[in-house]
């Protein structure tokens, strides 16, 4: 690495003069400055910014105004539409505040999450955004050395921490009611995943919360919960498609299916086509999330369209507030925000 000392030696001046020249201080003789610039150029000198910050921590000079922060986002999957869209929107929201976002994939593994915090977030992020974390809030608190943190869709009752939630109960309830009011009476739910109980470790899980909404709808509408058909599947399109095949007889008994995510709905519609059922004539299909793809697909997807941009914006706003108020002067109480949604009424239901 080429240092200012090296450049100084080449130009026959001290490192200090090099520093002055390179920062445009006008207390250097023009011809000296020219010599220094030539030397820097020749040696391919680059300012080492890390050493800069060591000083600027205390000094907080002009340079600190330009240097903005970094947000770490830990998300369970990068290659599914919902988390991908969320990550993209968060990245943009942060950018508008002058923050850079670094995204990391957890694959819903605790050890991955630990590694992310310890090896990356902890090293250089000013704040953390954790989507569907497996870690308890106090462990995050510990591992992250008390960095500002906002959780996404983690509704476990924990000690003070900010969290932003998708409207699981409300949305699921609205979906069932929508199907019912459009005249459907033999309703099925695709997406409970009892086989995969390792991921369902508490009743505050997204899955459970959506199920709770379904039950609430049934109670309200006077449907016996036992009459609802449940089609279990993992939360991917291919698994959902296979589930439709596997549970064909159950499916054929339904005139409407509520899928716990849009991705599941996507696979479900494909599965229905495979077994010769028409959407929405034979079976109405409804999703949950409101991913962009739902509008383009054939048939277009009626769904609980969560305001994903709102989630991104609020998460970033809140996190940046926490970052700027590290010492808790303002003592904003910890928030629990539930995002808005609307029913995107399209072709599939």
């Amino acid at each position: 690495m080429v240092t200012m000392k090296d450049v100084g030696r080449e130009a026959g001046v001290s490192a200090m003069t090099v520093s002055n020249v390179l920062r445009g201080n006008n207390n250097v003789a023009p011809q000296t400055a020219e010599r220094v610039r030539a030397a820097a150029d020749k040696l391919h000198y680059r300012l080492n910014t890390t050493s800069l910050s060591a000083r600027s921590l205390r000094v907080s000079t002009s340079r600190n105004n330009t240097q903005r922060g970094t947000i770490g986002l830990a998300i369970f999957e990068l290659d599914r539409p919902y988390p991908a869209q969320l990550a993209s929107l968060i990245s943009q929201a942060a950018e508008e505040h002058g923050f850079q976002t670094v995204v990391q994939q957890t694959r819903i593994s605790e050890s991955n999450e630990r590694s992310i915090i310890e090896r990356v977030s902890n090293q250089f992020c000013d704040g953390l955004l954790f989507s569907s974390s497996r870690l308890a809030a106090d462990e995050i608190e510990q591992l992250s050395n008390h960095r500002p943190t906002v959780l996404l869709d983690d509704d476990r009752p924990q000690q003070d921490i900010d969290t932003i939630l998708t409207p699981c109960e409300q949305g699921a309830q609205a979906a069932i009611e929508y199907l019912y009011h459009s005249g459907r009476r033999r309703i099925g739910i695709v997406g409970e995943d009892l086989k995969n109980s390792e991921f369902v470790d508490n009743e505050h899980d997204v899955r459970h919360r959506r199920m709770t909404g379904c039950r609430a709808a049934c109670d309200k509408l006077g449907i016996r919960w036992g009459d609802i058909r449940i089609i279990p599947t993992q939360w991917t399109d291919t698994a959902a498609r296979e589930a439709v095949h596997e549970y064909e007889s159950t499916i054929r008994d339904c005139d409407a299916l509520f899928c716990m995510t849009d991705t599941i709905a996507f696979g479900t519609i494909r599965g229905l086509k495979d077994i010769g059922l028409d959407v929405p004539n034979d079976v109405a299909v409804m999703g949950f999330d409101g991913i962009e793809m739902g509008e383009t697909m054939v048939p277009s997807l009626t769904t609980i369209a969560v305001d994903i941009k709102q989630i991104a914006d609020k998460a970033v706003d809140l996190l940046i507030k926490r970052i700027n108020d590290q010492d808790g002067h303002e003592a904003l109480p910890h928030q629990r925000i539930v995002a808005d949604f609307h029913i995107a009424q399209r072709e599939s239901a």
Copy 2:
């Protein structure tokens, strides 16, 4: 800011002992270590990594044994299937080598890319993966302080740098030939984007390379290039759908459409449905990329299925080799690798 000195004072030891405890060096008495940890916790101590790197620039010894590396991936969009899948696979490949991946979205903006390198990658990444970069290789080289870098899908002829490419020419040629050999004679191409020429600044652009493949196929098959219909559109599903509407008369003149990406094909199929054309009976549709969604959609998408996993694996392998051989002892020549593909023959063509 709380420093090691502060923690040391609290625990009644020197800063050095604090450093040893916090890095897990086992040359500290257990009860002393415990006291130090308690003090650090109490004071909410945070390691200041900026000062770290100043030293480790030169030293890079023990840190590297225990701590594995970090790869920075800069990618143009997070919420489109192809880049999302690529990012996910790269992240997994890196994980298998014990590397953590941090993903950042460039939105194809030069200033974003600069900011990513300067503010993040440069600070703590051992190597960089740049997908469809707008920056010239030598600028990356400069900005990154000569960190190991592998480019993805950037075929500009540049001074020595590794690059991994999608098989644009070969794949596009194969697509046109496939359509021709299945009996289609009125072929259209969806996805040239002449309006958006700011992004087409050189003939080594992915767009141009795919077009080149199409021309090669025409030459080989004896089709006059002028007979090929071109439907311009931006590379998103919604834009493609609108393009179908806008160019309806051109479209109705076609019996086959080659779309420059799967996402475009997705929107195109929707657009065709809108104007009452059946896929594949009225119009065959073929895509390019091989994203997973293509298999599930209705109709399932015949496409040039690029071996995305291969791209991810090779990129990560190569980058890690470069990282481990920083001083160029082995002098592996710079690579230009073109990924494999196959034709995924499905319903749409």
